[in-house]
Amino acid sequence: MPENEPENPDSQPDMSVPVAMVLGQPYSDAPKDLYIPPDALEVFLETFEGPLDLLLYLIKRQNLDILDIPVAAITSQYMQYIAVMEMMRIELAAEYLVMAAMLAEIKSRLLLPRPEEEDDEDDPRAELIRRLQAYEQFKKAAEDLDTLTRMERDVFDAGAGLPVLENRQPLPDITLEEMLTAFRSVVMRANLSQHHNIQREALSVRERMSNLLATLNERGQIEFLSLFTPEEGRAGCVVSFLAMLELCKESMVEIVQEKPFAPIYLKPASASENTDRVNFNDDSDPDSDYA
């Protein structure tokens, strides 16, 4: 909102207002007799957007075509306004004086006999016409713009109250590639330090280890045989068995057997030492436990 913009009176000066009558008086009259209410003149001047606007007004007021400006007449009218403004000691924008000079130049040129060969491309009148036309074009464009359907004035944004929002901070996304890239760099570092040899492990065995551990943690002791799923086939059983071996080796589970040929149980590794432990890490033969 242009609060800092002075609000203009309605766009185009309405010439029926007293101001026009005042200014309509010929300047040839004794200036002292010329009654111009100072406020009125200021308001009047403010309605012009500059010398081009004032000129356009003078032209239109006489129903003249921009393309056929009687330069002498217009110039003298323009000068009258300038003179009145100066007389009123209204601060004149420099542009008004520049225009006055331009008009005076055009006028004087037109009075001179024209040379046969006009090589002066910079004809001052053509330039004035061009500028007046260009200005008029955008003056009109601005008026058109003002008539467009506009938010806040003609149409309004429609809204509704919000429901209680789920205050969700979205979770970060990662791609498999990102994770693998990260892993690769870990592997690289591990390789450099040569402490680890983590390349060759079958992921299926590691996954089975995790699942076995989770099951054992949930259910406690589990019978060895029940940990094999015949539907998985031999390969599946082997994976399960390898997982058990590794879990046992890493002291994550205990394998217990009350007595020879009794059922073998797996249980989460714990402090309980009251049963015989079958330790695959020792040199004991595992075959005896392999049903």
């Binding site: 056929d68 053509a126 200005y135 359907t149 944004d157």
Partner: protein, 231 residues
């Protein structure tokens, strides 16, 4: 998801925010559905919704930055009463400046001043920038590297336009040949006369076209700025 549910969500979404929403934005609301919702379903639901809003005093309209729900102009006499402050009235100076930026973009301040014949107040530029109707898209490669201004999507949104070429056409200029003839002046080749006053001499239609295609390409500020600088 059932079309009715999609429609409900779209309607609520458009009412929930006071900015227009693009189809892409609306479609993204369904990203988490188990059963994927296609972009076309969203578009279809929007169309249905739009037709349902016929004759309700409220419409779903498409503007430059997407779709929004807005209250129709016919109800403006009553709706205006709800707002204590009257809608801002913009000065001629501001509107003329805005029109120049809109039709002649990208344009520098001095180019605006040249056409208007008066200095452009800093306040006007500030207001236009603050309203986000105008933005700086680059700097002209002339001494002082003045900023070049162009209009924004927000400008189009505010004036209920989808594209810059929906602006009313500029009034036609009579060509200077005929001006010269009518004025009884020697006829100069148009090019020469135009050559003198620089850029503003490009035939208006051409400028307009150029702007439009620039706007439509929407390749972002950088590109636009680049073009500007070259010119």
């Amino acid at each position: 998801m059932a079309p009715d549910q999609i429609k409900k969500i779209l309607e609520a979404a458009l009412m929930a925010v006071d900015k227009p929403l693009t189809v892409a934005h609306l479609h993204a609301l369904f990203a988490n559905e188990e059963e994927p919702v296609e972009r076309d379903q969203v578009k279809e639901a929007l169309t249905t919704l739009q037709s349902e809003y016929d004759d309700r005093g409220v419409s779903i309209v498409e503007v430059a930055s997407g779709f929004r729900v807005q209250i129709d102009q016919e109800l403006s006499p009553w709706i205006s009463l709800l707002f204590e402050e009257r809608a801002p009235k913009y000065t001629r100076a501001l509107l003329e400046t805005l029109a120049l930026v809109a039709y002649r973009q990208p344009i520098t301040r001095s180019e605006i001043e040249e056409v208007r014949g008066v200095a452009v107040s800093t306040n006007i530029i500030k207001t236009l920038l603050e309203r986000e109707w105008v933005r700086v898209v680059g700097h002209k490669e002339v001494p002082g590297r003045p900023a070049m201004y162009a209009t924004t999507k927000e400008f189009l949104d505010y004036f209920n336009l989808r594209r810059i070429d929906e602006l009313p056409p500029l009034s036609e200029l009579k060509d200077l040949d005929s001006i010269a003839k009518e004025a009884g002046l020697p006829v100069d080749p148009v090019e020469d006369v135009e050559g003198e006053s620089g850029e503003s001499e490009i035939p208006e239609d051409a400028v307009d076209e150029e702007l439009i295609s620039q706007e439509l390409s929407e390749d972002g500020d950088q590109r636009d700025a680049g073009n500007v600088v070259l010119h």
